[in-house]
Every structure is written in structure tokens, then in C-alpha cells.
């Protein structure tokens, strides 16, 4: 047997899960899709004494739409979003990100809450959450709170969650009219974690000027990186090819990616620049309706 010994808990409601986490403190871990946690346990890099399985908590598995956007329960499978016409129509960036998350067999289990809570620096969903100004609904022993995506990702594999808190849902606000989005990445093989990637959202006003731009890079730092200086270059202006080049150069100027077996820092930075350029162009084409 690969993992170290643990006690297994299968709560039926959120409150019970929180109580278990509080009781066992640092020795307890939440299990969602298991697509990141179980590899770590099999390698014994993670050895929780108590595993609290959220898969039997039905109230965490849902997808709803309200006037302000879509709300996704934490244990909703990535594959459910990928198959959802609602997500495709109302939150196309999230929908387009799905096929980039591992392989379909992984997405059959992997959850939205798990992706955010795990906070892998190269994962797509944190960057998408940042670009879409998502809010992470968290529940813990002292009650509920909403954490803005920009405050949620603290460091590599580290979030604003306390040890007895769980992600309950994620809210993705609807985008204003005239908005186009895009997500692009380069990975070694289909389904691998990105060596560099970018999520982008552009909104055009009726005159065709860019009223709002949001760009977040992933795989090039410990957390997804919003590149505000590059966004500023685009905002308030008509987006030309020249401006896109300028913004792309600015986006990677301050990046400090690390080198590893997958790619050198210089390569990641170079690729990130190209991807930013392409993502802005793609988002722009969608904002103007030239591309679907």
C-alpha cells in the first residue's frame, strides 16, 4: 500500500466537514477529486492522519445562475463545466480553460474547488478566477466569508484558507457586453501543466476603445500574476497591433519565472510574451464579434 495510514471520514453535510477539520487540526486534509492530493499521498509527500472526503456532500455539487453571474459549488467536477452549455454561454473563459486542465479522465474527478485550493502555480483556474474577478466562498468554524480571487492566492500551493476552512463555492460574475476573452498556454504535451500561459479579458466601449483589460499569467511565478502595467497600456485606447506588442512586452518585463526540468526561465518569459500578444488579439476579435 502506498499512502501512510489514515482515518477516513465521509461527512454528509458541510457543517460536519468543518467540525472534523476543526477537531483534527493540521492532521486533517480535505479530499475532493483527489487528482492532486492522492498523488502526493501515494508518494508520501503528504501524510494526513485524517482524510475528510467531500464527495458525499451533495450541497457542494451544483452549478447555478443568478442575475450577477454563475455560482459553482466546490466539488463540481471540472468535466461538468466542460460539458455545460450554461458555462459556455455565460462564462466562456472558464469553459475554454477546462480542456487545458489535465486529461478528461482527470477532469472526470477533479473539482473546481480543489483546483483553487491546491493553487498550483501552473494551473489554469486560479488565473481564470483572477481575470474574471471571481469570489471564493469559504466556510469555517467561525462562519462564512467571501474572499476575492486577488486576495486568495498567497504563494505557491498556499491560499488564504485557514486549516479548518473549506471552499464552499466560487462565484464568477457575468461579463459586461462588448467583452472578449481568451486563454492560451504552452505545455510539453497535451494535458500537461503549462510552462507558461495567459488568461485575458478585454471590454470595448461603443466607440471601440478598450474600457477594461485584465491579463493574468500562469506558470511563470509562485501564483498567477496579474500584469496591471500591461492592462493600463490597453485601457482607454483603440487597440492596434502596435499597442498589443507594447502591452505584451510590458507584461513580461518584470516577470521572474524559475527554471526547472520542463523549461528555463528565459524560455518561459519568451513564450509568455508571445502568448500575451496572441491572447489579446484573440480576446479583441471576440469582443468585436469577428471570432466566436
Amino acid at each position: 500500500m502506498k499512502p501512510a495510514v489514515f482515518d477516513y471520514h465521509a461527512p454528509a453535510i458541510v457543517q460536519e466537514a468543518v467540525e472534523l477539520l476543526q477537531r483534527y487540526g493540521e492532521d486533517a486534509t480535505v479530499l475532493a477529486g483527489g487528482q492532486s492530493l492522492v498523488p502526493l499521498m501515494n508518494l508520501r509527500l503528504s501524510r494526513p492522519g485524517h482524510v475528510v472526503d467531500l464527495n458525499g456532500v451533495p450541497e457542494l455539487d451544483y452549478l447555478t445562475v443568478d442575475g450577477e453571474g454563475i455560482v459553482v459549488g466546490a466539488t463540481t467536477r471540472q468535466r461538468t463545466l466542460e460539458r455545460s452549455d450554461t458555462v459556455r454561454d455565460l462564462c466562456p473563459l472558464l469553459w475554454r480553460a477546462m480542456p487545458l486542465v489535465g486529461h478528461f479522465q482527470v477532469r472526470n474527478r477533479g473539482t473546481v474547488g480543489g483546483s483553487l485550493a491546491h493553487a498550483d502555480p501552473a494551473s489554469e483556474l486560479p488565473a481564470v478566477a483572477l481575470v474574471l474577478q471571481a469570489e471564493v466562498g469559504v466556510v469555517g468554524p467561525t462562519g462564512r466569508r467571501d474572499v476575492k480571487a486577488e486576495d486568495f492566492f498567497i504563494d505557491a500551493y498556499t491560499t488564504a484558507l485557514d486549516s479548518a476552512e473549506i471552499v464552499e463555492h466560487v462565484r464568477f460574475p457575468s461579463l459586461p457586453g462588448g467583452t472578449g476573452t481568451a486563454i492560451l498556454e504552452v505545455a510539453r504535451r497535451e494535458g500537461d501543466f503549462a510552462m507558461a500561459g495567459v488568461a485575458a479579458s478585454l471590454t470595448l466601449d461603443p466607440e471601440g476603445l478598450c474600457s477594461s483589460a485584465r491579463l493574468a499569467l500562469f506558470g511563470v511565478g509562485p501564483t498567477p500574476v496579474r500584469v496591471i502595467k500591461a492592462e493600463r497600456i490597453l485601457e482607454g485606447r483603440a487597440i492596434t497591433e502596435e499597442l498589443v506588442g507594447e502591452a505584451a512586452a510590458m507584461a513580461v518585463q518584470d516577470l521572474d519565472p524559475s527554471s526547472d526540468v520542463h523549461a528555463s526561465a528565459a524560455y518561459r518569459k519568451r513564450v509568455a510574451g508571445v502568448l500575451v500578444r496572441r491572447a489579446i488579439a484573440e480576446a479583441l476579435a471576440r469582443a468585436t464579434g469577428e471570432q466566436t
Binding site: 500500500m1 502506498k2 499512502p3 501512510a4 495510514v5 489514515f6 482515518d7 477516513y8 465521509a10 483527489g34 487528482q35 492522492v38 498523488p39 499521498m41 501515494n42 508518494l43 482524510v51 472526503d53 464527495n55 468535466r79 480542456p99 489535465g102 486529461h103 478528461f104 479522465q105 482527470v106 472526470n108 474527478r109 504535451r189 497535451e190 494535458g191
Partner: protein
């Protein structure tokens, strides 16, 4: 060590067992049930050799604990053939040389099964994406893509007749 009672259906047969929570579904299938057609390559989610169907969906059995399958239904490669008669996907792999050593084959066949259930006529690109989570060190994948295509045709003929 505390053992937990487990009840699940595997290849249509009800099973009851006492298992340690840390026992993965893959190890349960192989050692407790003797279903060694589910292969283990990496045991951390990368190779896809351990793919089984959980309630009809292809998943990695090395990343599930057996206790999590309480009340669920699992299909392994042993559940594909009807007696002596191979499943059309197995037949297609055989005819198109979709395997050499065969280590990866159960995983590819169950992934292909899930793909073809959702998408009866996948394009070559869709096939490639669907098998990207399964590693093969022998074939070079071309013959596997051809096998999945041939399997789609066989299943189509089967539906028509």
C-alpha cells in the same frame, strides 16, 4: 488498523469486503479481487494504465481509495468481453495492432469506451485529445488512433444492425 466495510459492484457482481482506507481502488481490484487486468504504471496519476470506469466514467483507479467507491459501480477491462466474445473495441485493437506489449491496453480501451459513448464519431483530433492521458511506450500511438477509429465504425455498425 481500522478497517472499513465496503460494498460495491464490479463488472456486474456485488462485492463486500473489509478494507483499510488507504487501499487504492487499483490495489483492491488487483489484490483483493484478483482482477489483475487493471495495470499500475506510475501510481500517481500520470500514465493512465490503471483506468477503469466508475459509474460509466473513465477514471484513474490509483487516485481513488477503495472506500470511496462504496455503493458505486466499477467496470474493469475484465468486464468488457462477453464470455469468449471480445468487445468491439477490443476487436478493433486486435485487428489494427493497437497493442504490442499490452501493458497500456486496458487503460486505452476503457478511455476509448468513455470517449465513444459520449462521441460516437470522434475526429482524429478528438481521439488524440482523449488518449492524451494514456501513455504507451511501444506503439507510437498511430495504431491506437487507428484502433479507436475502427472501434467507432464497429460500434456504429452494431447500432445499425
Amino acid at each position: 488498523m481500522a478497517q472499513v466495510a465496503l460494498r460495491l459492484k464490479v463488472n456486474g457482481v456485488e462485492h463486500e469486503a473489509l478494507v483499510e482506507p488507504r487501499l487504492t481502488l487499483a490495489d483492491f481490484l488487483r489484490t483483493d479481487l484478483g482482477l489483475t487486468g487493471t495495470h499500475l504504471g506510475c501510481e500517481h496519476g500520470v500514465c493512465g494504465a490503471c483506468t477503469v470506469l466508475l459509474d460509466g466514467e473513465a477514471v484513474r483507479s490509483c487516485l481513488l481509495f477503495a472506500v470511496q467507491t462504496e455503493g458505486h459501480e466499477v467496470i474493469t477491462i475484465e468486464g468488457m468481453a462477453q464470455g469468449e466474445e471480445l468487445h468491439p473495441i477490443q476487436e478493433a485493437f486486435w485487428e489494427q495492432h493497437g497493442l504490442q506489449c499490452g501493458f497500456c491496453t486496458p487503460g486505452f480501451i476503457l478511455s476509448a469506451y468513455n470517449l465513444l459513448q459520449e462521441n460516437a464519431q470522434p475526429s482524429e483530433e478528438e481521439i488524440q485529445a482523449a488518449i492524451s492521458g494514456n501513455l504507451c511506450r511501444c506503439t507510437g500511438y498511430q495504431s491506437i488512433v487507428a484502433s479507436v477509429k475502427a472501434a467507432a465504425e464497429k460500434l456504429q455498425l452494431q447500432r445499425e444492425s
